[in-house]
């Protein structure tokens, strides 16, 4: 049942097209809504068990011979994510019912992709087997690709979908490499078993490589620097998709991955530096560029990037706890708690902000912040929701964002004083970056809400006459906004029920006691809204608010600074340059240069390669040897024949007219027949004579039919390369022949044929008996070859499309 639950959305998707086609009066979304609601209920039943530290495991054997199975592993972390996915999923479906028009939109596509995505996400967070985790991971990429390009008639949607696909799939593939390395080192694909082996894994030689590869997957999916560039372009998706995938769930798959692998990789310094460093950089970068955006969803996209960076940085800091003695008494244990806490908070306020952006778009017809303003009195409910969520995002009380931001500052303050890994030198820089980023977060939060809802109403600029959204559309964001406030007042209840089990999953060693069976409930962390006047966090917050407010009021003056950055100097330009300039154009140029369609050049490449490989091997293996032992004696008339053969060959080579070349070839053929006579092969000589005669006749026939144009006597132009390649091949054949002749390993089996040709087969001519008796099958198929050649020739000559038919066919 537990494994099946993952697939329920996918199974439900089968019915969507039928419902969409046959029940046109009811919006398809209402049927879809049942699925996430049922799942929320189902996962809620696990809460009490997981709270007490009992993980729930269920598995379904998929490929037993390869040891691959679908395992649904529910511990604190997985359960929290599962609840987020299904919970926010339900709200998003509810919102989409009012957002998407049932008569104008292709709803069945939308809901199939959405349900597919839900299965993929549930699979990612519950998989214990790394291969199935990867499988679901790629399914999220694919369904996200489909959802972004939902309005596939638009160029921008297709561009955004392709970009996100390229980046996330590239990261996913690297991650698969990391998984395989890790599994080879640990001997198992199960993450739980790898966690248990973590202390031994650190010393493996490929440990850091596996770590970096897995981080590639996490960073591309979670839009970390510099891979965040796909996220702003993914805003072309319908807003429910942006709210669901690009704020609450999919982008957190990377966060989940980092959290899940922290117990394995935390022992490495590289992990701590990469996760913390990249996280902080992303936080800083995202918040800085969010203020530059003029599109509502653009602001939110950069804000998502920035907040994901914050969570990532906290997860990096939580890994430090593994290096500290008596970590349970330091502040680092807060880091994981703060990360998970902020993850929940971000899902609530960002989800609701996206929905508000969608409402504004829906009711005014534009998302351009320069055209918006003064909507406060027209859309009071939306404004309230937006205000609550924005203030939470800015980190102000009494909203949940305040609590997690305080904890973030606490963690960064502690980092500054940390002794290991040179954090004491660089830590202060990290703190400064964190504070600046928080200031900018404050600015863009205000920018988002006040530039949209206050100020002057520019009714003439708006494509539609603005009015308040229907109440159904507002239900989902209102629920989320309510959560924003509620979480502020009961943080410790949330902590007890959801966060501590998740923290226990991230930092299990911290709370490991060999004698006591520890449970998540025993983690002694409480969230305090008030730290007292002496706490530095408070003064930092005050400082952030003051500077942020100052910057916001003077926004018009310094926003122009962003224009200093030339449009060409951006990561998007770099991406375009790589995709279009480097990859596309270079590849086209290379194939144009190498594959220009001339058969002679291809043959030249092939012959040169054969030559190089064979002669190279011969000398590399020191296989060349020459011995005269066992060679037959040389007779004078043989030498004469050889001279004739060489002369005939030379004639074909240097012949200026074709007829000379053909006669030369004939001469060679007859000489070969004479060779056969000399070397005691009468049957061969007969066949060769007859066939050479027919061949030459055929050549002459063709020559005769070559009309005027062909009679222009062609002298083959001498080319050095051509000569070099042909001499190389000739030398290669000679060398191989000499070596093969000089080192015979076993004797021939011909004695058997000689002995039994009469007694068993009743014949005297050994060659003929071999052909029709010992090895008659060869002859059968050689006859077939001749038959096919004959029929082919007949068909080529007889079956012709007349000119008229040909033109018809080509049309």
């Amino acid at each position: 049942m537990q494994v099946l639950a993952i697939f329920i959305p996918l199974l439900a998707a089968i019915f969507i097209p039928f419902l969409f086609r046959n029940v046109r009066t009811i919006h398809t979304g209402w049927f879809v809504l049942i699925v996430p609601i049922l799942l929320v209920g189902y996962y809620a039943t696990f809460i009490s068990r997981v709270m007490n530290g009992n993980d729930v495991l269920a598995s379904f054997n998929w490929i037993p011979s390869l040891n691959i199975s679908f395992i649904s592993y529910l511990d604190g972390l997985s359960l929290l994510f599962s609840l987020l996915i299904t919970g926010i999923g339900a709200l998003v479906v509810l919102y989409s019912i009012f957002y998407l028009d049932k008569t104008k939109e292709q709803l069945h596509n939308f809901y199939i992709y959405l349900l597919m995505f839900m299965t993929a996400m549930l699979g990612v967070v519950q998989s214990d087997h790394m291969i199935t985790l990867y499988l679901f991971w790629e399914l999220t990429s694919i369904s996200s690709f489909l959802l972004i390009a939902y309005w596939f008639q638009r160029d921008k949607s297709r561009f955004g979908a392709l970009k996100s696909m390229m980046i996330t799939v590239a990261g996913g593939l690297l991650m698969l490499g990391g998984f395989v390395l890790l599994a080879l080192m640990g001997g198992t694909y199960s993450i739980r078993e790898l966690v248990a082996q973590a202390p031994q894994l650190v010393n493996e030689s490929y440990f850091v490589l596996a770590l970096v590869l897995i981080l590639f997957g996490a960073f591309t999916k979670s839009a970390q620097f510099p891979f965040y560039i796909w996220l702003p372009d993914a805003m072309e998706a319908p807003t429910p998709v942006s709210a669901y995938l690009h704020s609450a769930t999919m982008v957190k798959a990377g966060i989940y991955l980092v959290a899940r692998f922290t117990p394995i990789f935390a022992a490495s310094e590289v992990w701590i530096w990469l996760v913390t460093g990249i996280g902080l950089l992303t936080l800083f970068w995202g918040s800085l560029f969010a203020v530059k955006q003029t599109d509502l969803k653009g602001i939110l996209a950069f804000s998502t990037v920035s907040q994901l960076g914050l969570i990532m940085a906290l997860l990096g800091a939580s890994a430090i706890a593994f290096h500290v003695e008596d970590a349970a008494n330091t502040v680092f244990k807060y880091a994981a708690f703060a990360a998970i806490f902020h993850l929940i908070n971000h899902a609530t306020f960002k989800g609701s902000l996206f929905m508000i952006a969608g409402i504004v778009d829906h009711e005014t017809g534009t998302r351009d912040i320069r055209k918006l303003g003064g909507l406060m009195s027209i859309m009071p409910l939306s404004f309230t929701v937006a205000l609550i969520s924005s203030l939470s995002m800015a980190g102000l009380p009494p909203f949940n964002g305040f609590l997690s931001k305080e904890m973030f500052l606490t963690a960064m303050l502690t980092l500054k004083d940390f002794e290991l890994f040179e954090f004491s030198t660089w830590g202060i820089l990290l703190l400064v970056i964190a504070v600046i980023a928080s200031i900018f977060t404050f600015v863009y939060s205000f920018y988002f809400v006040f530039k949209t809802f206050t100020g002057k109403l520019q009714a003439s600029e708006l494509p539609q006459k603005p009015h308040e959204a229907p109440i159904g559309m507002l239900v989902a964001p209102m629920i989320l906004a309510a959560l924003v406030v509620i979480i502020f007042f009961i943080p410790n209840l949330i902590g007890e029920v959801f966060i501590k089990p998740a923290v226990f999953a991230i930092q299990p060693f911290l709370y490991q006691d060999p004698f006591l069976q520890f449970t998540p409930a025993g983690i002694d962390i409480t969230v305090k809204a008030w730290h007292g006047f002496t706490a530095p966090e408070l003064w930092l917050t005050v400082c952030i608010v003051i500077v942020g407010a100052l910057l916001f009021t003077t926004l018009g003056k310094w926003q122009k600074l962003y224009r200093i950055q030339p449009a060409k100097l951006s990561l998007n330009t770099f991406y375009d340059f790589v995709m279009d300039g480097v990859l596309n154009r270079t590849m086209v140029n290379v194939s144009k240069r190498v594959m220009h369609g001339s058969m002679r050049h291809y043959l030249m490449y092939m012959f040169a390669a054969i030559c190089f490989i064979v002669i190279g091997t011969l000398f590399y293996k020191d296989a060349f040897k020459i011995s005269f032992e066992g060679a037959a004696p040389i007779e004078l008339y043989q030498l004469i024949l050889i001279i004739v053969l060489v002369l005939g060959t030379l004639t074909t080579l240097i012949a200026r007219s074709r007829i000379t070349a053909i006669v030369g070839l004939g001469a060679v053929g007859y000489t070969v027949a004479l060779f056969f006579v000399m070397f005691n092969a009468p049957d061969l000589a007969l066949t060769q004579l007859v066939i050479e005669t027919i061949s030459v006749a055929l050549f002459l026939l063709v020559f005769y039919h070559l009309p005027r144009l062909g009679k222009v006597q062609e002298y083959t132009p001498f080319r050095f390369r051509r000569l070099a390649v042909s001499i190389g091949i000739g030398a290669m054949v000679t060398l191989v022949a000499l070596s093969a002749h000089s080192q015979k390993l076993v004797d021939s089996i011909n004695q058997y044929y000689k002995d039994t040709v009469y007694s068993l087969a009743g014949g005297g001519n050994i060659v003929n008996v071999i052909l029709v008796d010992y090895r008659g099958f060869d002859t059968l198929f050689e006859i077939t070859v001749l038959g096919i050649a004959g029929m082919g020739i007949y068909a080529m000559i007889k079956l012709r499309l007349s000119r008229k038919e040909k033109t018809n066919e080509s049309e």
């Binding site: 369609g597 074709r658 070349a661 053929g669 092969a681 290669m732 054949v733």
Partner: protein
Amino acid sequence: MEIVMAFVCGFLFMAAIYLILSRSLLRIIIGTGLLSHGAHLLILTMGGLGGTAPPVLAEGVTDFADPIPQALILTAIVIAFGVTAFILVLAYRAYQELQTDDTTAMKGSGIDD
């Protein structure tokens, strides 16, 4: 003798490859003809050129030439002939349709190298 024949085969291969790399279809086919001659002689040489009598039972003869390579070559000659005949007619038909026997011109662009 085998040593000398190795050089002869090498020479035939060289000439064949040189012709195959030319522009005219007819020369290419002549090249394949030389290539099959070279290959046949090579098989015979590698089987050993010893033996004083053809591989036919006769009174008092024990030193036969090796019959196995001969059987192989016989098969190869026939197959090479079938293929040569086929490509010759193919070249003839290609000429009829395209009015050229220059492989570069058949490509369409007329530009070589």
